[in-house]
Symmetry: C2
Subunit: 294 residues, 2 copies
């Protein structure tokens, strides 16, 4: 928690210039800066990241920017939920000092033509069905980190592959920031919090609540030494019975470099996770669960 | 010139950690930092960049790193001239405070997988015959800028397309550094200084000395209103007569975004340059010349 929380009025910056004026003043007075990038539509998952950033640094900045370059034309960019007034209230009450909410032309001025690719960890999982996704994410996060220049930036483990892509990019490009992953925040029935949960009907919401139970019991069996291919087969059948419209992927992969585990018992030396992306109704949901190590 | 030049012993850093220890100390005492990235084999062209960086900032860092990722397999990476002892002496006598000479594994550790692409300005000219070149350059320069974190970085106008690629990358990724271009330094007969000039035989050196005269007289005719296609045709014939082995390209392009000018008189509102890459013997030489505006 910041010792400076008396000065608790949330500022809002809409340009890089206004953002840097605030952040540079903090930095030059020796204060550390924590940063949480978001696409708005904030829920308790985001706010847990803001609170973690506030614990790790003197000042906390959160960005709200629905990044067009990480959506494919058929995806939900235009319908993605937006409610800035509510988001700002939530940030204020979570200990955030500055919201950065740039208009698209501030991020992508005419002539913009630079992109960042993080090769291996962008492949498979969400990189398979959303081939432009991680390029768009890496590029916009690089920009945001350069705009804010935080000491530390916090990303949720719900988007676990994204967290690995960002960590790899920051290491590979020698960006002077520490990247921290924060645990998934879940609803009462274990559904991973997501802005897209708002799309679900009552029936779909019931189905969605089963995903986390299926992957957590898969992780339990793997930690007890079960064969990965058996666990994957049983998991797929369980998803079908649960009423999932389509399974985009259900995989077991190394937590460090996403090497897939296809069969045999898990190597206890290698930290692994079960990863899922499933379509419920028309909504694509993702989640992941660590395999507990003996 | 730095007011601190009494402390003029050149330091050498070989790791990011050692580099940052020096540079962070300067920065935290309020000193500005100028940076010149090089591949070594330093000549007066490089040293003019170092002197410009020293004029623009309190402390000057030059890097020496022959970047493997910007050479194609058939190019001269392994034979590229290297002479670190001489380079360090030259840097010392040019007002440089710190040489950064990392080994390759410091720049590209195992698992490295990130690349940066600057789309439009990387196309044509050198991007045509060296398709991986600007990706390699953009990525390594991004790394170096993040490692050094200078206030200002100086690049030579000899590699004019590279200068535009770096300027565009820095603007697009919001990197907190000012990029400055410095004029080409030439030999007595006008040949643009280049580490690759060392490859030339006596006869080839004579031919090489004619390139700048051909493109400067092309630029003169363009500034007098001549038709671009006529000027280009005459230029190509002049290069043939001069004994050039092969012309990689001879083009007139906008100085701001490299839009080609193929015919007609130059629009005086648009700053333009004549660009050349030619093979003399087996050595590829590049040069460029601004069209003087009325």
């Amino acid at each position: 928690m910041s010792p400076l929380s008396a000065d608790s009025q949330l500022g809002v910056a809409r340009t890089v210039k206004a953002l840097r004026a605030r952040v540079d003043a903090w930095r030059s007075s020796g204060q550390s800066v924590g940063f949480v990038p978001t696409m708005g539509a904030l829920h308790d998952g985001h706010l847990s990241l803001v609170r973690m950033a506030a614990r790790l640094s003197d000042r906390t900045v959160a960005s709200i920017f629905v990044n067009p370059t990480q959506f494919a034309p058929h995806e939900d960019f235009s319908s993605y939920p937006r409610n800035e007034a509510q988001d700002l209230e939530k940030l204020q009450s979570s200990g955030c000092h500055l919201a950065y909410a740039p208009p698209p032309e501030q991020m992508y001025p005419p002539g913009f033509q630079t992109s960042i690719k993080v090769e291996a960890v962008s492949q498979g999982l969400c990189g398979e069905s959303r081939p432009h996704f991680f390029g768009g994410v890496a590029t916009v996060v690089c920009k945001l980190l350069n705009q804010v220049r935080p000491t530390v930036a916090v990303f949720g483990e719900k988007d676990f592959q994204q967290l690995l892509v960002i960590k790899r990019m920051v290491r590979d490009l020698d960006m002077p920031v520490e990247i921290v992953g924060a645990p998934i925040v879940r609803e009462a029935d274990g559904l991973a919090m997501s802005s897209r949960n708002a799309y679900l009907s009552t029936d779909e919401r019931a189905t969605a609540g089963k995903l986390n139970k299926i992957i957590s019991s898969m992780a339990d069996r793997l930690s007890e030494g079960a064969d990965a291919s058996d666990v994957l087969n049983d998991g797929r059948m369980a998803l079908e019975s649960a009423g999932v419209s389509r399974v985009d992927y259900l995989e077991i992969r190394s937590e460090t470099d996403l090497t897939p585990v296809l069969y045999g018992p898990i190597d206890p030396a290698i930290p692994a996770r079960v990863f899922i992306a499933a379509i419920v109704g028309k909504t694509r949901l993702i989640d992941n669960w660590p395999v507990r190590r003996a």
